[in-house]
């Protein structure tokens, strides 16, 4: 896996540079990929809801507080930005921490 630096859109007209994994060294030889961070954030929702569901539905007694921390790396798939689950401590480009407190 190689990685390269690409511009990623984070909002209208705003970009940041991010390290992106590329599955292999080639691809459509365009000079410019329009990458939108929004495309990659879906996995945060998915992981979050998976954790939440697992804890709520799977455990006989629900814990008072649930936390999850995971890392995301970015990659390009089908020309779009996508995120790949990574070690939270390792080389992740983005570390996400989610917590739920349960009062009931």
């Amino acid at each position: 896996m190689q990685s390269r630096i690409e511009q990623v859109e984070v909002g209208p007209g705003e970009t940041i540079e991010a390290e992106i994994r590329v599955a292999d060294a080639g691809g459509d030889a365009t000079a410019f990929n329009r990458l939108d961070l929004a495309d990659a954030t879906e996995s945060i929702h998915r992981i979050g809801s998976w954790v939440y569901r697992t804890v709520h539905d799977g455990l006989p007694r629900r814990p008072q507080k649930v936390g999850v921390e995971f890392g995301l790396k970015f990659a390009i798939k089908s020309g779009k930005l996508t995120s790949v689950l990574a070690e939270a401590s390792g080389e992740a480009s983005l570390v996400v921490r989610l917590e739920w407190e349960h009062d009931g």
Partner: protein
């Protein structure tokens, strides 16, 4: 023009563009057609339609009009074909490389171009990489290796370096960092895309409404000054020259490299970006240039747009700027500076301020180009200067993407000097450069000129003078001279001066009359003489007689100046004139010679003042005057050598004529001319006739095929004749006698140019040389080439209405065992013969076309026959205007196209010719700029499928003109086993498609009734018929099905076909079939079952029935095979039930079934 190695590749590289959006470089693309850029869809993916194209320093707006496909798709690469089309928003001059034929074998090595940041240069640069073709990648991409494909190269063209043809579009890279290549999109995908979007190529260049300049702007000033200065005749022949715009007569031009129709100059400018116009002395080149300048200026200056509603000047969206070539070479400044200096010098005081070079560095107005009219390249006399100018112009012509266009005029220069101009320019785009010859006046043109001229000069007597002038031209046989516009002008002036005197019959005398008038007899000049004497009076009697001397020697002085100008390229100056006077006579002291000379010389109108000195008002006047000098120092041998090397120039002919006018005998000289250089002895005059004859025979013997020498001798002699030399009868006869052996030696006459030359020569011999007897001898001379004899006869018929000549033509055309020349004789007869000749010749040519076995012969016959047609068959109703000959040609070629015994290659030849010959009636040529169509080479042209379709199209095209022969052709096509039945169906569909139902039906019915064909195809023929004539098809099918005697297989096929055409009728018919006891049980059962069951969709029923056809043939045998027996018995039982119980239902259900069909 041949494609040169390197140039072609260069065109490919230069067609590559950068695609940008929102400040980001997206990738590459290239011009795939006029105003159309091709790139990859992934390059513009998620980008707005408006993109920016960067190309050779230009920023062009673009709009993505096609994205194929619209979205990325599921894979890790953008989906196939991954192509996008960007339309360029402005008209710009750009190269277009050729696309390789989709099926062509891909070369091993290709070169890809694209723009990338991965070059050592900062920013985005072009990268060219050599790629090796590995093979197909999937069915749809090409796999290439050998070099890195960098990011940004997507969309770039991939070319064959040898031919410059595009074989693919860069799609993706295997590895941006190592030379592992990647993938290309094949041109087949490009073709498919373009086929789906024909609208991309039909549009013309985007129209921009041109904005006229405001008064006070530099452009306005330039145009206004040019309009004032240029609207006069290019030569000051008279005190009262009419404005050019009131006497201009439009002249046509024709391309030099093809046998083309004459075209008006504005059309020529619409077809070609750059144009070279060639013409002889006084042929109207300068006039044309001035007319263009004035005409376009008038459009741009129109104050009230309503008065000039045209959307653009006639010459197109250009601002024409007139520049004399001689003025342009005076400077070595950069081009815009040189132009500004030359323009400022020429417009002089008519300008309020100098025109700045900056004006020429940008387009004159949005959407418009500069059209530089470079007049008179030949008038740059120094060869080195001239070749420098040509080199500069060549580089300008070869440039793409500029706002400069050129129209260059010149006389033809020896040794192909002007070829340097076009070298390599036309590569890549055929319409970048065209070479045209200015046609002289034709008779209507001359008449128009006379009308305009006298209407301006003598409005009250215009009609009478104009008619008188034309009559005098006819009487003096001057037409071939006054075809030249300048000579027409001169002749008109000479005539006008004394309408009762006869016009001189030669060019030199016309010039002499004019020069004499300009110098000595005009009223203004007479007063000049008095003025001169008054001015010099105070200096004493010597000075007064000097005044007379000076006045009388004006011509001699001008002759000297002209001589030095033409011989040594020394521009005329007052100092030179002064030096000459001092050498010739004693100048009384105190006389202000310089100012006197200035007045005297400029007052003649033969010299005009320019910013940098003096110049002759027309080059031909300089030549006439210089010839005065030459005639006094005339050396016949040197003259002959000169003519021999370069042909007779206008100057040579003036020299000879003026030498003759000095009292010299031209006959020995002309004899030497005609005998050729090897026979110097011929120059000795007074030889015995028999001795001459021996010499002539020797000439022939020795020089055998010396065509070149013979052409030169005859051509040069005719040039002298045409120029109007006066010869005593005996001498003329002797000289014409010498022409004949030369004509005999001319053998090669297979091109239009030679033919035109020959006709010209013969006409001059007859008209100017009085050589009727000579032509008669030529026409009967068996040793002369047939074409020459035929043309001699033609000239006699045309000019003298000679019946013997017509008889000879008939003999040459129709005698038994006639040779090649017979076609030409027929053609000639058809052109100049009687009505009967015409009809018969057309008939015989048609015979050759339809049956001739020699490819060259029949095609030639077809071409000749085509030429017989009136050029314009106009009117949408072709049938009424089509002549017998038109029908004859169509019928003849059609007969050839459909002849079953002819190899397909020959039919394709005939089709090609047919399509070239036959124009659909009412098919007007498109006046819009010709947008280059996609340039593919053809698929396999001898594929029978294609031939059959084209043959049908050919039949359709001429049906209205030759209904009988198209019917015959259709019948032949129907029975032609060269084509498969499917191919013949295709032909029928073509005919039906254009509404020729009757012919299509005829074709299909012949197939349907062809007993050699299998039943299924015969039935299918009726199915095709059913698509446009359902009633006829149904009746016939039902007929077959219900005919007990018919072949059972055919009946089954017919039933199946009918089922898919008309369900209700099929049910009815099936009942009959099922009840036919002679048929196999199995078939009857299945038919009944299938057709009685409304749940079975009809197409399936049809298929099933057709499948049963196979069983049917063997059903009687199969009955005895045990394995099947059970099934069949079972089937029979069911059938019995079906027939018994369902038949009634079937009938009742037919309505039901019909209802079904209505719903489906």
């Amino acid at each position: 023009m041949a494609v040169r190695f390197g140039v072609a590749l260069e065109m490919g590289r230069r067609s590559t563009v950068q695609v940008w959006s929102g400040g980001a470089h997206l990738g590459s693309g290239f011009f795939a057609a006029d105003g159309v850029v091709l790139t990859c869809a992934h390059v513009v993916w998620q980008q707005p339609d408006r993109v920016l194209l960067r190309w050779e320093g230009h920023e062009l707006p673009g709009e993505v009009v096609v994205r194929a496909p619209g979205e990325f798709g599921a894979g890790s690469f953008y989906g196939f074909p991954d192509l996008a089309v960007i339309r360029v928003g402005v008209a710009i001059d750009h190269p277009v490389p050729w696309l390789a034929e989709p099926g062509a074998k891909v070369p091993r090595r290709l070169v890809a171009y694209g723009f990338t940041a991965a070059t050592p240069d900062p920013g985005i640069g072009v990268e060219g990489v050599e790629l090796w073709v590995g093979g197909r990648s999937g069915a749809r991409y090409l796999n290439v290796t050998n070099a890195e494909i960098h990011r940004g190269m997507s969309g770039g063209p991939v070319l064959d370096p040898a031919t410059g043809q595009v074989y693919g579009v860069v799609k993706g890279s295997r590895d941006y960092a190592t030379p592992r290549g990647g993938w290309l999109i094949r041109t087949a995908a490009v073709q498919d895309l373009f086929d789906e979007h024909p609208e991309l190529f039909r549009t013309t260049a985007p129209t921009v409404s041109l904005l006229r300049p405001d008064p006070g702007t530099p452009l306005y000033q330039l145009l206004a000054a040019q309009h004032r200065v240029v609207d006069r005749l290019p030569y000051g022949l008279d005190d009262r020259p009419p404005p050019l715009s009131s006497v201009y007569v439009r002249q046509h031009t024709r391309r030099t490299d093809e046998d083309a129709e004459p075209a008006a100059v504005p059309d020529v400018l619409r077809r070609n970006r750059n144009v070279l116009v060639l013409g002889g002395p006084g042929s109207g080149k300068s006039t044309l240039v001035q007319h263009l300048a004035v005409d376009t200026a008038a459009w741009w200056l129109a104050a009230d747009p309503d008065t000039d509603r045209a959307a653009a000047p006639k010459a197109g969206p250009v601002v024409a700027v007139r520049l004399s070539a001689a003025g342009l070479v005076r400077t070595r400044a950069p081009f815009p500076v040189a132009v500004s200096q030359a323009v400022t010098a020429e417009l002089g005081m008519h300008l309020d301020s100098a025109i700045e070079p900056a004006l020429f560095e940008a387009p004159p107005a949005p959407g418009a180009s500069w059209l530089y009219l470079i007049d008179g390249v030949d008038e740059v006399l120094a060869a080195a200067e001239r070749s420098r100018l040509l080199a500069v112009l060549h580089d300008r012509l070869a440039e793409f993407g500029t706002d400069a266009r050129f129209l260059i005029t010149s006389r033809v220069l020896p040794d192909g000097e002007l070829d340097a101009l076009a070298d390599g320019v036309a590569t890549g785009a055929a319409d970048r450069y065209g070479e045209y010859v200015l046609d002289p006046f034709d008779r209507p043109g001359l008449a128009a000129f006379a009308r305009h001229w006298f209407a301006w000069r003598t409005p009250d007597r215009a009609e009478a003078l104009s008619a008188g002038f034309l009559a005098e031209v006819r009487r003096a046989r001057l037409f071939s001279l006054v075809q030249v516009p300048l000579l027409a002008t001169i002749a008109a002036i000479v005539y006008e001066r004394d309408p009762d005197a006869s016009l001189p019959a030669d060019r030199t005398s016309l010039y002499r009359e004019t020069v004499q008038a300009l110098l000595y007899t005009r009223r203004v000049r007479l007063s000049t003489r008095d003025e001169l004497r008054r001015t010099l009076g105070p200096f004493g009697p010597a000075a007064e007689s000097f005044a007379d001397w000076l006045f009388d020697h004006t011509e001699a002085c001008l002759e000297q100046l002209a001589h030095r100008w033409l011989e040594r390229a020394e521009a005329p100056t007052i100092e030179q004139a002064q030096a000459w006077v001092h050498e010739a006579t004693e100048v009384p002291a105190g006389v202000p010679l310089a100012s006197l000379l200035r007045e005297l010389l400029l007052g003649s109108g033969l010299l005009v003042a320019q910013r940098n000195g003096l110049a002759f008002s027309h080059q031909s006047f300089a030549e006439y005057l210089a010839a005065g000098h030459a005639a006094r120092h005339f050396d016949p041998t040197a003259w002959l050598a000169d003519i021999d090397a370069l042909g007779p120039s206008s100057r040579d002919l003036f020299g000879l004529a003026r030498w003759i006018q000095l009292g010299n005998d031209p006959v020995p000289l002309l004899r030497r001319l005609l005998l050729g250089r090897r026979f110097g002895l011929g120059g000795r005059s007074g030889g015995e006739p028999w001795a001459r004859r021996i010499t002539l025979d020797a000439v022939e013997l020795v020089s055998g095929g010396g065509t070149v020498g013979a052409w030169a001798a005859v051509g040069n002699f005719c040039a002298v004749l045409r120029d109007g030399i006066a010869l005593p009868d005996a001498d003329r006869r002797e000289l014409l006698e010498l022409v004949r052996p030369n004509l005999r030696r001319i053998r090669r006459l297979d091109d239009e140019v030679s033919l035109a030359r020959l006709r010209d020569v013969l006409r001059v011999l007859l008209v100017r040389g009085g050589g009727g007897w000579c032509l008669e001898a030529v026409m009967h001379d068996p040793r002369t080439a047939l074409v020459t004899r035929i043309e001699a006869a033609r000239t006699l018929v045309e000019q003298r209405d000679s019946e013997p000549a017509r008889r000879l033509l008939r003999e040459l055309a129709y005698r038994p065992r006639a040779t090649e020349g017979r076609l030409w004789a027929m053609r000639t007869l058809a052109a100049v013969g009687t009505d009967r000749d015409r009809r018969y010749a057309a008939f015989r040519l048609g015979q050759v076309v339809s049956t001739g076995d020699n490819g060259a012969t029949w095609m030639r016959a077809a071409r000749l026959l085509a030429e017989l047609l009136p050029p314009d068959l106009g009117g949408p109703d072709g049938a009424s205007t089509g002549t017998a000959e038109a029908g004859m040609l169509d019928a003849a070629v059609l007969a050839r196209i459909v002849e079953p015994g002819r190899p397909l290659v020959e039919r394709v030849e005939a089709l090609d010719l047919f399509e070239a010959l036959v124009q659909a009636p009412g098919d007007e040529p498109d006046p819009a700029p010709v947008t280059a169509p996609l340039r593919y080479s053809q698929p396999d042209r001898t594929a029978p499928r294609l031939v059959a379709l084209r043959a049908a199209a050919a039949i359709a095209q001429v049906h209205h003109r030759a209904p009988d022969s198209t019917r015959r052709a259709t019948r032949t096509l129907a029975g032609d086993g060269t084509y498969t039945v499917l191919e013949r169906f295709g032909a029928a569909r073509v005919l039906a498609g254009v509404g020729l139902d009757e012919l299509a039906a005829e074709l299909l019915l012949r197939l349907a009734h062809d007993p050699r064909l299998p039943g299924v195809q015969r039935a299918e023929a009726l199915w095709h018929l059913g698509r446009f004539a359902p009633g006829a098809a149904r009746d016939r099918l039902v007929g077959w099905i219900t005919a007990p005697a018919a072949d059972p297989g055919l009946r089954a096929d017919a039933l199946a076909t009918l089922a898919s055409l008309d369900g209700a009728a099929a049910r009815d018919a099936a009942a009959v079939l099922a009840g036919d006891a002679r048929l196999a049980w199995s078939f009857r059962a299945a038919a009944a079952q299938l057709l009685a069951d409304p749940a079975v969709p009809r197409p399936r029923a049809a298929r099933a029935l057709r499948a049963l056809d196979d069983r049917l043939g063997t059903s009687r045998g199969a009955d005895r095979i045990g394995a099947r027996r059970k099934d069949e018995e079972f089937g029979a039982r069911r059938a019995a039930g079906s027939i018994g119980t369902r038949l009634g239902d079937g009938r009742a259900g037919s309505r039901h079934g019909h209802h079904d069909e209505g719903n489906s």
